[in-house]
């Protein structure tokens, strides 16, 4: 099970809403223990496409994030982006470009403005499986 602090969910949502209608994107890193993965860091990354229908993570920032996660001994747990006009479900483009089978692909939908819908998926060899995740609060963790 993937566990994400409420504060990081809030930061991701704020990132999505601040850039809307352009899609946002970023990465979450954390630690893995058995079947549990705990997100501890969020890295908003520049959408080089600056598009309302696509994202392309800035390669320079992506390199920096990979190095930062490695130095902090973090695993790449979540790849997130927003769909500003469609549902929280991977598009054909998302599936075709899903090169990280171990990552959780998280989508923030702003189809209904002010009511963000967040869902996570595994995308492996073109197959989409929705993933459960838990949102943790300081008192519960």
């Amino acid at each position: 099970m993937l566990h994400i602090p409420q504060s990081i969910i809030d930061e991701m949502t704020a990132h999505a809403m601040s850039l809307s209608p352009v899609e946002c994107c970023g990465i979450m890193g954390g630690t893995t223990s058995g079947d549990d993965a705990h997100v501890t860091h969020i890295y908003p990354i520049k959408n080089e496409d600056h598009s309302i229908v696509s994202y392309f993570m800035d390669p320079k920032e992506l390199l920096w994030v990979h190095k930062n996660m490695r130095s902090n001994k973090l695993d790449l747990l979540v790849i997130y982006h927003s769909h500003t006009h469609t549902q929280a479900y991977p598009s054909a483009t998302d599936v075709r470009l899903a090169f990280y089978p171990d990552a959780h692909y998280m989508i923030v939908s702003l189809e209904v403005k002010d009511q963000p819908d967040i869902k996570a998926f595994r995308i492996v060899k073109g197959n989409i499986n929705q993933d459960e995740f838990s949102v943790t609060t300081p008192s519960a963790s």
Partner: protein
């Protein structure tokens, strides 16, 4: 001193889970052949049928994208670090950048 090669999560199955390996090649082109020799299947993941780096694969020599250096002809010196990082992209629709 060998060169250090950083392997991204999607390619770890090919290296037996090793995220850092060593190489001895003096160019990126040589390194691709060395990787294929030591870890069969690697070149297919990194290069297209013409042997060119796939569009969605980024290779960095230290901090520089080799596309802004000399591409596959980029020279590697002892102690350099080569990082292989697949692009992360997608989106709700078909963007120009995402049309392969």
């Amino acid at each position: 001193m060998p060169i250090n090669i950083r392997i991204p999560p999607p390619l770890l199955p090919l290296t037996g889970g090793k995220s850092e390996i060593e190489g001895t090649s003096s160019s990126i082109a040589g390194l691709l052949e060395e990787l294929e020799s030591n870890y069969p299947g690697m070149k297919e993941r990194l290069c297209d049928d013409q042997g060119e780096l796939r569009r969605f694969v980024n290779v960095y020599l230290n901090e520089e994208d080799i596309r802004f250096l000399d591409g596959k002809d980029t020279k590697i010196n002892d102690g350099d670090e080569v990082s292989i990082i697949p692009a992360i992209a997608g989106g709700s629709g078909e963007g120009l950048r995402c049309q392969v």
